[in-house]
């Protein structure tokens, strides 16, 4: 199995510190450490589910991988090519193979353009085909994602949330990409519509041999669509492994807490053994020293406050970053 994507030591900081203006107004800003050294690998034709709470940096990671936000440091190897040093033109060509589906189907479509223009635009940008061919491809794509071809001259506001997400999917797939970042593609949708989109994405992956990075905060959805799961906390991956392993025998205390917090229809009453996390996610401007989770971890000991745990393999393809796991534990 070949690796479609190999990310090593990816860092993305946003520097909001200001110069003279900041000094004058007293608003100094800060260095936001959104992604702090992430290693992930996705094999061709597989889905890696990326899970974490809001503000943990999962969307930033997805965008940094596509260089939509320029990474601060680290390497990204996509389909055997190191894309971090590609110039703008080469990167543009590469983007045909890597696309993204956004979370909000209301904000990610231009309200002044028709569906035909929205879905066809990537083809025009990459200058591949004549207008007639664009229309042909757009129609084909609309049918593929379950939209009526007769609606191609309508505007986004004339569609429901689920249909809009189908438009977003059609736009992302019209260039026949190999890899798609799905950034919370179903979070803004109602439950019954969510299932329609999940099934559509699964079908497209099967038929077109796509590779997904599927970002979500919903563990049930991630568990359903992914072969592997990576758990992110405050800019770092804390655990990664096969879906089955992560869901059935999570080792990192954060993963354990996350899983036990999910309300499930087949449980009654508040579960007594639920792991309760106290407090909120610390700020990525000033992440805790040592293990970033130690401020909320019930097992935290002295070493967790001072030393950062290594990200180590515990068995096969299961990796964890925790002092309590592995050699020391």
């Amino acid at each position: 199995m070949t690796d479609m994507l190999k990310v090593r030591g990816l860092v993305k900081h946003y520097d909001t510190r200001r110069g003279i203006w900041g000094k004058l107004t007293g608003n100094q800003g800060a260095l936001v450490q959104a992604v702090s050294g992430v290693d992930i690998t996705i094999q061709q034709g597989k889905t890696l589910g990326l899970i974490g709470e809001s503000g943990c940096g999962k969307s930033t990671l997805g965008r940094a991988i596509l260089r939509l936000h320029e990474p601060t440091s680290g390497t990204i190897e996509f389909d055997g090519v190191d894309i971090i040093n590609l110039d703008a033109e080469a990167m543009k060509a590469m983007r045909q193979k890597m696309q993204i589906i956004f979370q909000d189907p209301y904000a990610s479509l231009n309200p002044r353009k028709t569906v035909r223009q929205i879905i066809g635009q990537p083809l025009k940008i990459h200058g591949k085909v004549s207008d007639a061919e664009v229309d042909g491809r757009v129609q084909e794509m609309m049918e593929r994602v379950g939209l009526k071809v007769g609606q191609m001259n309508r505007y986004p506001h004339q569609f429901s949330g689920g249909q809009r997400q189908r438009i977003g999917i059609a736009r992302a797939l019209i260039l026949n990409p190999k890899f798609v970042v799905c950034d919370e593609p179903v979070s803004a949708l109602d439950v019954s519509i969510q299932a329609q989109i999940i099934e559509l994405l699964a079908e497209l992956k099967r038929d077109l041999g796509l590779t997904y990075l599927f970002i979500s905060h919903d563990i049930s959805v991630i568990g359903y669509v992914s072969e592997r799961i990576a758990v992110m906390y405050l800019g770092k991956i804390v655990e990664e492994g096969d879906t089955h392993t992560i869901l059935n025998s999570p080792m990192h205390p954060y993963t354990q807490a996350l899983l036990s917090s999910v309300p499930q229809v087949d449980r009654t009453g508040v579960t007594k053994d639920r792991i309760r996390l106290t407090g909120d996610l610390p700020s990525p401007v000033d992440p805790p020293r040592g293990c970033r989770f130690h401020t909320r971890c019930q097992y935290a000991s002295e070493i967790c406050k001072t030393d950062e745990p290594l990200y180590q393999t515990v068995s096969g393809t299961h990796s964890v970053a925790c002092h309590l796991v592995g050699n020391s534990g």
């Binding site: 709470e53 809001s54 429901s160 689920g162 109602d190 439950v191 019954s192 519509i193 969510q194 299932a195 329609q196 999940i198 099934e199 905060h217 563990i219 049930s220 959805v221 568990g223 359903y224 879906t243 869901l247 807490a257 996350l258 899983l259 917090s261 999910v262 309300p263 499930q264 229809v265 087949d266 449980r267 009654t268 009453g269 508040v270 579960t271 639920r274 309760r276 996390l277 106290t278 407090g279 909120d280 996610l281």
Partner: protein
């Protein structure tokens, strides 16, 4: 012993829009008993928020209550004037809104917003206005501690934007609970929150519910939340209640095709190999609906017999369903 706190009978709330009359709530009847937690499940546009907006007297033009009765502790609420409603709201019935950031006033400190409620409603405060304010401040600190805000005293004079999403939701709950209401209506209290924070907030509500013997209406779209926290559940679709009953009964033995469809369209952590089946199609427009089953267009079991007015019918103990095929083996 079931003492009803809230009784809604055949409530019909309409909005007179340019495109026609929208019947957002169409003939909803329900009861909330003392100390129980009722879950209301439905997708956007199903009428769940409008139903309870009607209870709170928050439906404003072009919306109006066309028919029906809402009784709270035996007292009719439909037709109360603004003054009478203000005496009730915040004191006996309180509601928390989905989005805490827009529900809290960004221009006032948190202490201002909690104290405002106490000064308006709390009869236990005595003395001059100044001394009342001082007592209210003390109570505000207590409330913030109750909802688990660390360093409550020093954070009391912060503004809403200085708190995180989970903390803001707690502040709204603190405001809602400050006068110890008989009924709390929580509209999607955790939708905007992360799961670990969601668990904290829901357990907090359950905890306070026990302590104060308060009734809770939990409006949500998450069946998992309902399963874990609610005694009874009602499923709404296109302005109507389509199924209601004890939570376990409805979830383990759903009778309405829509409820079944909802349960089949969520992936379950406990059984990820189980294939999810989406409900095809989408919710109908609420304008000019014919007298027939509203789910018919998306229902796999629909027949010509569904093209008539369909009423709720009993299906087991305290379990009702709006479907002519319910209970039949198809």
């Amino acid at each position: 012993m079931n003492i009803p706190v809230l009784e809604i009978e055949n409530l019909k709330t309409c909005f007179d829009t340019r495109d026609g009359m929208v019947t957002a709530v169409d003939g909803v009847s329900l009861k909330v008993n003392k100390g129980e937690c009722l879950g209301i499940v439905g997708e956007s546009g199903s009428g769940k928020s409008v139903t309870f907006g009607s209870v709170m007297g928050l439906v404003k033009k072009p919306g109006f209550i066309a028919e029906g009765s809402i009784r709270f502790n035996g007292r009719e609420l439909v037709g109360l004037n603004g003054k009478e409603y203000r005496r009730l709201r915040g004191k006996e019935i309180a509601m928390t809104m989905q989005d805490a950031l827009t529900a809290l006033n960004p221009a006032y400190t948190v202490s201002n917003q909690i104290i405002e409620v106490l000064l308006a409603h709390d009869d236990a405060l005595t003395g001059s206005r100044r001394s009342k304010k001082k007592q209210a401040r003390g109570k505000a600190i207590e409330m913030m501690q109750l909802v688990g805000i660390p360093a409550a005293e020093s954070r009391l004079d912060d503004y809403p934007h200085q708190f995180s999403g989970g903390m803001r939701q707690r502040i709204m709950i603190a405001i809602a609970l400050s006068c110890k209401p008989t009924l709390l209506i929580a509209d999607e209290p955790t939708t905007a929150l992360d799961v670990t924070i969601q668990a904290q907030v829901l357990e907090l509500i359950a905890d306070i519910q026990d302590k104060l013997v308060m009734s809770v209406v939990l409006i949500t779209h998450d069946l998992g939340v309902v399963a874990e926290y609610c005694d009874r559940v009602m499923v709404m679709y296109a302005g109507q209640i389509v199924e209601s009953g004890p939570t376990r009964d409805v979830i383990d033995n759903p009778q309405h095709p829509y409820t079944q469809g909802l349960l089949n369209s969520i992936p379950r952590l406990s059984d990820l190999d189980r294939k999810i089946t989406p409900i095809e199609g989408s919710v109908p427009e609420l304008i000019g609906l014919a007298e027939e089953c509203r789910f018919m267009g998306r229902c796999l079991k629909a027949t010509d017999a569904c093209k008539t007015l369909i009423e709720m019918r009993d299906n087991g103990v305290d379990h009702q369903v709006r479907c002519i095929n319910a209970g039949m083996v198809l």
